[in-house]
Symmetry: C2
Subunit: 333 residues, 2 copies
């Protein structure tokens, strides 16, 4: 668990896209995002107060989050001194970079000396159990996609925000590095050893009050041959009461797999639901989240209308039109 | 890759069942099983020549395989001196025990000094790639089960034996520790990190000649919530041309999961085939392997007849009646 609130380190981000993690924190956990620390040449701006390390500490920040991805996932020399200073001044560091903080001898030594923590969120920090399949109290919703990277994380976060605004008890449960950095906790599921994947999901979504919803971040797709095993573990470990189907309607083939066509939403619905009912016979598909970012307004509306007619389920783009109707459908379960 | 042939270490096995690994080597790779080394009190007997370490070396053994499971997977003091002597005399060691050889400081030091290898087959020794889903040459058969531990490994090994006897080119591809110790190579799939599971299966079953069959050892079950992700990765990474359904007809619930009923063979067939066709549209279900060990002759025959009628597929117990009809069905693909 990463200590909050955060000072967001944007480094020398070449553009806004490189600061995707920082943007996620600002959008979904604004209460954690006290300020931004930018180096000369930084082209990203989260419209947060610019702070140096001392100002961040005075504002109450506990962790400096590396909110930027850089080429090759390397910790660049331009960053190194800031990170060392941060440790010395009393910050923990958190990173989702491919190269681990703990593998940098200088950072490791500085953290040990200062008694601070290095959070490499790509690496599991817990010994997860083997899944036992026992029915847990509370309710769970899982986003499943026709493909990878179709908006599953965004959908779950947007639904959580609507539910919290309505006073419904809901927790986004992160299963990937960006989600973990945003919320400060979660399971880096793609880095968990095979035998423990479903158990890690059970651990992440434990017994809860009957009116509480876990909104589990989906990963991969049952139809993506590289990562379908991870999706399967989410479906069985998560024992969801509700599934949201996620889709990107303009994609011509599965991400990274030329020659593999996307399944229809109907095939996704029937396949995922049948498998989910192994772990939770009461599971239902409640709605469709469509990423229409590549469509103009008219095309987006036509696409959503078509899906709604075909599947008889609310179909919305939560980014474009809000997640309210997905939450309505969920609360009707 | 473990160097062959083997001297099989049975230690102080309390009964024959504890020596399951040694029995597997003797049954399926008799050419690797030069002899057995038993300690005082050993109650297992593979009916192989008893050899001490020196006799094993003279016979040509390269690796001492720990062919016995013991309580807790620990390396007992009674074994330790034999293992140290073996390293010094020039054997490699291979083990599937839960406690790793490499974590025993004495064994590690002895192996380093003698320049010998410690094979802990529970741990991957390869950096597997992420699966790319590209079509590979050659043919592949995968055993999928209604549950865990229903005879998937046995089925694949029995089919391989029949195919080799007929002169058909076939390779059993081990995905678990017992299979790896038997054949000297494979992927310990349940210990692979999630993102690389399907890639490990692709790596295990590479391009091959058009008339060659890989017989891939199945793991888990799509319907076993603890391990279904591993099964999913086998189905997509293995891109099988043929599936064999495996079943144990007397089991009252999924192994280790009270309250979870087994799926019918029809449901397994339809679920597994639809998912397999994502990676290989030409995949077919060719036969059913039934573990009838808990049925008497009349009940076993009735059970097989019933399944054959219901599914319209050859249904056999390869242990009881041989795997010939499964191989006939495979060769007809």
């Amino acid at each position: 668990m990463i200590e909050t609130p955060y000072l967001l380190f944007l480094g020398d981000a070449p553009d806004a896209l490189a600061a995707k993690v920082a943007q996620g924190v600002r959008d979904w956990r604004p209460e954690y995002a006290l300020g931004q620390l930018r180096l000369p040449g930084c082209k990203a701006d989260m419209r947060l107060p610019d702070m140096d390390l001392d100002a961040g500490l005075r504002a109450g920040a506990r962790t400096l989050v590396i909110g930027v991805a850089n080429r090759g996932g390397v910790i660049s020399p331009a960053w190194k001194q800031v990170l060392l200073d941060a440790l010395e001044k009393g910050y923990d560091l958190a990173s989702g970079l491919h190269n681990l903080l703990r593998d940098d001898a200088d950072l490791k030594a500085a953290a040990d000396k200062a008694g601070r923590k290095l959070h490499d969120v790509r690496i599991p920090s817990v010994r997860y159990p083997i899944a036992n399949g026992e029915k847990r109290r509370g309710k769970r919703c899982l986003a499943v996609g026709t493909d990878c990277s179709v908006g599953k994380m965004y959908t779950a976060l947007a639904m959580e925000a609507v539910m919290r605004a309505r006073g419904t008890r809901a927790s986004f449960r992160a299963t990937g590095q960006t989600g973990i950095l945003i919320t400060g906790e979660g399971v880096p599921l793609d880095a968990v050893v095979a035998d423990f994947m479903a158990g890690a999901v059970e651990w992440l979504t434990p017994d809860n009050d009957p009116d509480h919803w876990d909104l589990i971040e989906g990963q991969g797709s049952l139809f993506h041959v590289s990562f379908s095993g991870v999706t399967m573990a989410l479906i069985h470990g998560g024992q969801p009461d509700a599934l949201i189907l996620c889709h990107e309607p303009t994609r011509s083939h599965m991400r990274g797999l030329p020659g593999y066509a996307l399944p229809s939403l109907e095939v996704l619905r029937d396949t995922a639901l049948a498998l989910a009912r192994v772990a939770n016979p009461d599971c239902r598909v409640v709605g469709v989240s469509v990423n229409t970012s590549n469509l103009d307004d008219a095309a987006a509306e036509a696409c959503l209308r078509d899906i709604e007619t075909r599947l008889g389920l609310p179909a919305v783009d939560p980014f474009r039109y809000g997640a309210e109707r997905l939450v309505d459908a969920l609360e009707a379960v």
